[in-house]
Subunit: 220 residues, 2 copies
DNA sequence: CGGGTGCTTGATACCGATCAACCCACGTGG
DNA sequence: CCACGTGGGTTGATCGGTATCAAGCACCCG
């Protein structure tokens, strides 16, 4: 089993599928690669496929008239994006850009739709994906509207900790500038937020983060 | 055909369903009423149903630890909400409150799920609903992050205009304070945004809005 | 007439964006 | 080996947008 296959197999898209359906879905997948900073999708483009990240990270973002950009989501390995258009199709609603060396699995919509007609477990998986994304995006709106930048950063750090530990050290999965975008911040603001969290027992050196007292941090 | 039925029949939930399925779905609906300001759902509650608005308006919102609230969506007649949990179920992710005298149709999840197993058109409708909500919510994140308050207000006003007219007069569908919440603003900020748009040819008196030059307003 | 309720207006404070300078690590070529 | 450039990050100064707080205002309804 190739590396790509094993990553895909552990995605929510494939979760719980019978091996027949899973294999046929795998056959539908095109594996494609992108260099850092390359545009994978441009907003408004005709849409005929959705994607699952196999390696690397991608940014989904929109821009306004004068070219400023706002990130909507950062996708990690095993995340899918643009699965929306299984429902309606049409055009992509946002730009997608490779944040580093990226490997994607590309699924043509109509192939998947046909397969889903034979096995509704696939349909249910896609529904589940959309439901998860919808809930996450709603949470994002709420978080932007009622939390301050440091609170959002603290929140993100806590989300990276495994439950049960009183303290923890880990690495950020990607560049700080990317993380800033994900949290709706300018890079400078992320930097300052880390500074502010120092007195809450957060130490950041490069991409390494140490949290002295997880429970204490949760108070903010 | 009752008033409730005719509203529901024109919702996206029922769009394009065969009359057999549509009738069986209608039978599943409980019609329930709420006074203004009453809580329909509280965040964290066990979830076993989703809803379609028949009359009035409802607010979906989250609160933080200290009780401040942020609106996520305002639902109008024929909108559905909480349809997410067809996929996973579990608990409601936000509070829902009646903004005025509200009539809802309540659909028990498992009843709908059973019906959808027999007619996938229903499944497809629900997918379409979720896809629409997801795209709208992503747009909301991007809009919050890249547009100023006046731009968001202008944008909302334009969305209320019918295409083709050079100018237009219409009524806001609900209270300004509700609209402010929907746009992620304090009521004062909405008021000031209306003030700022005056010089772009926007006149607001009570709930009546007049836009002199739609094309000009679109420039902002 | 009195008292809500919803909205507006003004004064102030604060958060975060922006701009500019600087720092550091790293890689490259003279 | 060092000069240089580059990219990512930090730091500081400043500005602008929006929340917040506090009055004041308009309308509705008893």
């Amino acid at each position: 089993m190739s590396v790509e296959t094993s990553v895909l197999a552990r995605s929510k898209l494939f979760a719980g599928l019978g091996s027949d359906t899973a294999n046929r879905l795998l056959k539908l997948a095109d594996i494609i690669r992108f260099e850092p900073r390359v545009f994978i999708i441009r907003e408004g483009q005709r849409a005929d496929a959705f994607f699952c990240v196999v390696r690397g990270y991608v940014r989904l973002f929109k821009t306004n008239e004068i070219g400023r950009a706002a990130d909507i989501r950062i996708c990690e390995p095993r995340d899918t994006f643009a699965e929306c258009l299984i429902g309606g199709g049409g055009i992509y609603a946002y730009n997608v850009q490779a944040a580093d060396n990226v490997v994607l699995a590309r699924f043509a919509i109509d192939g998947v739709r046909r397969l889903a007609e034979e096995d509704r477990a696939l349909d249910r998986n896609i529904m589940r994906l959309m439901a998860d994304h919808l809930l996450a995006t709603m949470e994002c709106v709420a978080s932007d509207r009622l939390r301050t930048s440091s609170q959002r950063v603290a929140n993100y750090l806590l989300s990276q900790c495994s439950a049960g530990n009183p303290s923890q050290t880990f690495r950020l999965p990607y560049q700080k500038s990317l993380l800033a975008g994900k949290l709706g911040l300018a890079p400078e603001a992320l930097s300052r937020a880390f500074g502010a969290l120092k007195e809450a027992g957060v130490t950041v050196r490069g991409r390494t983060v140490r949290i002295d007292d997880i429970a204490a941090l949760r108070q903010m």
